[in-house]
């Protein structure tokens, strides 16, 4: 398929996944706030950090600081914040618009409706007033989009690009929330055994809609187990490892090469990353520092994204004369 189209589908998917994650973080935090009677700013700040907009936030909301209102405005509606829900939905829709013929009308219409709704008059005040409804709507729309992608689109190359984008974004988001939450939850370790602590860890799980599935696997809420579940679980759909396994499937479906081999740097980097996660142990990770581990993971994931772009999107005409494509290099298994 066209490189430009592949690129747009990949980003359409990433942006919508990002919007959903932001909605989930905010939602869980709002619920947590109702249970905790601590000063609100301290609980809203980590949310800004998680979404990677800390310096921009400080710049734009210097007077108020992180209050519920300012953080909601920043994360939901602020157009200047590229990771706000409004910005992400808009970016997803603009990408979809430029590839309308490659996705289905159902997918396009859903993104279009989401975008128009957020933009509509008076919508902002209503959503800030009763954010739960709005956030539930974003999450549901994202799930609906996924369902439409699954059931209205052929599972062809375009579908794999959408899936690849979604999974890479999801792996990134889960790693961020674990990183930030772990860091913020740790100082409260003196509360171990207290209900607050449980609340925090439960909130972390809920941020990744992992609470119920976690409970089926583990009897107690324990920091290492929670971390293990979110990073290394093979089956949970939002765990980093699961995302890497599925992303690798899609990448290989696109190129046609078997998993365990590689034809290009994108497959090589993603394969190596996935196999590291396959054999990692949570106690070793914690011992060497979870933050360092996740930080390293995030930069390697960025490397994978760059390699995907170089390999598939930046096609140069000069390759034609030699009769070769970017897949003509020798396989290395």
């Amino acid at each position: 398929m066209l490189s430009r189209v592949a690129n747009s589908i990949y980003w359409m998917s990433r942006y919508l996944e990002r919007a959903e994650n932001v909605a989930r973080f905010v939602d869980v935090n709002l619920h947590l706030m109702l249970d905790l009677s601590i000063e609100s700013g301290s609980q809203w700040h980590p949310l800004v950090v998680t979404t990677g907009g800390e310096s921009l936030f400080r710049e734009r909301y210097a007077e108020t600081g992180p209050t519920q209102e300012s953080v909601l405005q920043f994360l939901i509606f602020d157009r200047e914040n590229p990771n706000s829900i409004a910005s992400c939905v808009r970016a997803a829709r603009e990408n979809a618009r430029s590839v309308r013929q490659s996705i289905t009308s159902e997918m396009w219409e859903l993104l279009n409706r989401m975008h128009l709704r957020i933009r509509s008059e008076g919508f902002r005040d209503g959503a800030l007033d009763t954010p739960y409804e709005f956030l539930a709507d974003i999450k549901n729309s994202s799930h609906l989009f996924l369902g439409l992608t699954e059931s209205t689109m052929s599972h062809n190359e375009a579908w794999h690009w959408a899936r690849l984008g979604r999974l890479i974004e999801r792996a990134d988001q889960t790693s961020r929330i674990v990183d930030v939450k772990y860091y913020f939850v740790l100082p409260t370790l003196e509360y171990v055994g207290m209900p607050y602590d449980n609340l925090h860890w439960a909130a972390l799980l809920k941020s990744a809609t992992a609470y119920e599935m976690y409970r089926k696997r583990y009897q107690r809420i324990a920091p290492n187990w929670v971390t293990e579940f979110l990073i290394l679980d093979r089956e949970f759909p939002r765990s980093v490892r699961h995302c890497l396994i599925r992303a690798e499937e899609s990448l290989h479906a696109i190129t046609g090469s078997p998993i365990g081999t590689f034809l290009n740097p994108a497959e090589q980097l993603l394969g190596r990353l996935r196999s590291d996660f396959d054999f990692a142990r949570i106690d070793e990770i914690i011992e060497h520092g979870l933050h360092e581990y996740l930080d390293n993971f995030q930069s390697r994931l960025i490397g994978v994204g760059d390699a995907i772009f170089e390999t598939f999107m930046a096609v140069q005409p000069s390759g034609v004369g030699g009769g070769g494509s970017q897949f003509s290099g020798a396989s290395s298994a």
């Binding site: 066209l2 430009r4 009308s105 933009r119 696109i254 005409p317 034609v320």
Partner: protein
């Protein structure tokens, strides 16, 4: 809502013979509308608008970013054309496009028609859309113009006349198809009983005729070339590409190498055989036409000349829809086909002729003056609606460049009822049927009915505040169905299903 107060205002009305008396083909629809509960019609109108907005059936307004997407205003009362009225239109359009294709092919080869002085040579040579670059080129099957959108109007006597031939990149067919989707849901019972000829197969036919243009391969790669997502007709480009199942490409997706056109794909370059291009000649190839174009594909004209890529429409077709050349179409038809034109032109004065020019300058307050090579309703003077200053300004323009202006009598364009707030008012309409020319011409039954939504306005272009209606061409007379019980029928409001 009722038609009993509807006033045809002395114009030829598409729906009523005279106030209170519906035409045969429209009678059923009128009864249905009359039988609706109060407010139901408006609800249907609103639901249709919401459906269009959600589908993103919008056109972009130039010069802005987002937020400047507008839905093309749509009126849910269809315009109905009876079978007997349609038949001569169909024949007339087929005749016209056949002759125009022969004309274009002749112009780029022997130019017999110029040598025989049927069309003045200097008019052709001075036409900006005449492309020297196309001389001697042989497009597949000798067809230059594969897709045409001819504008028809109906005059005060109810006679259909050709107003313009759009032979370059006519747009609007996507609205025809989408409007139909919505109307089927809006008036399902009337629709079924009226025996409306379908339009949904247009994309299939278009794809087939494009595919036939590739002479060297059985399974050609066909693409649609768009200027991009910010073009005013982008919705249509995406829609047609999707409906045809072909790639929608931008100029930067394509490149020329080894005398072939390729597109950049995730699996490397892929050869392209047929391009349905929706960008103008000027922007197609910066090496052949406008050097500053960033939208096109450098070198593509060489590949076209070598017969290694098919372009639809071929470059250079614009010469035949120049508004001065238009005046010669009846002679062109006679010259190539030895037939009289079935569809008459609108009387046209060519400012290029001295006698005509004098007449035009003396009657600017009565005539419509148009530049010869503009489209979209830009740069026109509508005499009866103009000021003395505007007329004086046009007089200067005409004297400075007589070749570039034509004038036509101000027609009493036919009208059709549209919903205005809580009642019906008559508005002027035109009709753009679409013609595909593969081996044989095919005429889409219906076309885009454009409505001048501003009261009294004669300009139907979307850029000038026009809207659209669905156009029903009937197969035969409608059945007799009664809607006395209509109030117990469930209202059709679920436009999402």
């Amino acid at each position: 809502m009722h038609f009993r107060d509807y006033d045809t205002g002395g114009f030829y009305d598409e729906m009523f013979v005279r106030s209170g008396e519906a035409r045969t083909g429209s009678r059923l629809l009128v009864e249905r509308v009359e039988a609706l509960l109060d407010g139901d019609l408006l609800r249907r109108q609103q639901a249709a608008e919401i459906a269009l907005y959600n589908m993103g059936i919008t056109f972009n307004v130039y010069g802005g970013e987002e937020g400047d997407e507008k839905i093309f205003p749509f009126d849910i009362i269809p315009r109905i054309i009876e079978a007997g009225e349609w038949a001569p239109i169909e024949r007339g359009l087929a005749q016209r496009i056949t002759a125009l294709n022969l004309f274009i092919d002749d112009l780029y080869h022997e130019q017999k028609i110029l040598h025989d002085k049927v069309v003045p040579e200097d008019l052709v040579k001075s036409c900006p859309a005449f492309r020297e670059q196309c001389m001697g080129i042989d497009p597949a099957g000798g067809i230059w113009c594969h897709i045409t959108g001819t504008d028809l109007v109906r005059d005060g006597e109810g006679v259909f006349r050709v107003l313009e031939d759009n032979l370059r990149c006519p747009s609007g067919v996507s609205y025809v198809i989408e409007n139909r989707q919505i109307l089927k849901r809006t008036f399902p019972h009337v629709f079924r009983a009226s025996h409306v000829r379908p339009v949904d197969d247009y994309p299939i036919r278009l794809r087939e005729s494009l595919q036939d243009l590739a002479t060297h391969t059985e399974s050609p790669t066909v693409v649609l070339l768009t200027p991009g997502a910010y073009n005013s007709a982008y919705f249509e480009h995406a829609f047609l590409a999707q409906q045809m199942g072909i790639e929608l490409v931008e100029g930067s997706d394509l490149f020329v190498q080894d005398s072939s056109v390729f597109m950049r794909t995730t699996r490397g370059p892929q050869r392209v055989d047929v391009i349905y291009r929706r960008i103008d000649d000027d922007f197609l190839d910066p090496r052949a036409f406008r050097a500053d174009s960033a939208l096109g594909v450098p070198g593509i004209m060489d590949v076209f000349r070598a017969g290694r890529i098919a372009l639809a429409n071929a470059p250079g077709t614009g010469v035949a829809d120049d508004k001065v050349i238009y005046a010669f179409v009846p002679e062109i038809i006679r010259y190539y086909l030895d037939e009289d034109a079935i569809l008459p032109n609108v009387d046209t004065f060519l400012c290029w002729r001295e006698a005509d020019r004098k007449h035009v300058l003396a009657n600017l307050d009565k005539l419509v003056v148009k530049p010869a090579s503009e489209s979209g309703g830009y740069g026109m003077l509508i005499g009866p609606h103009s000021t003395k200053e505007e007329q004086a300004e046009f007089a200067e323009r005409i004297k400075a460049n007589p070749r570039n202006y034509i004038a036509q009598p101000t027609l009493a364009l036919s009208r059709a009822p549209v919903i205005v707030d809580d009642h019906f008012e008559g508005r002027h309409v035109d009709l753009r049927p679409f013609i595909l020319h593969g081996e044989e011409p095919y005429i889409l039954p219906g076309g885009l009915t454009r409505v001048a939504l501003k009261k009294g306005s004669l300009v139907v272009n979307s850029s000038q505040g026009g809207g659209s209606k669905d156009t029903w061409v009937l197969e035969r007379e409608p059945d007799n169905v009664s809607f006395v019980d209509a109030s117990v029928m469930p209202p059709v409001t679920d436009h999402e299903s």
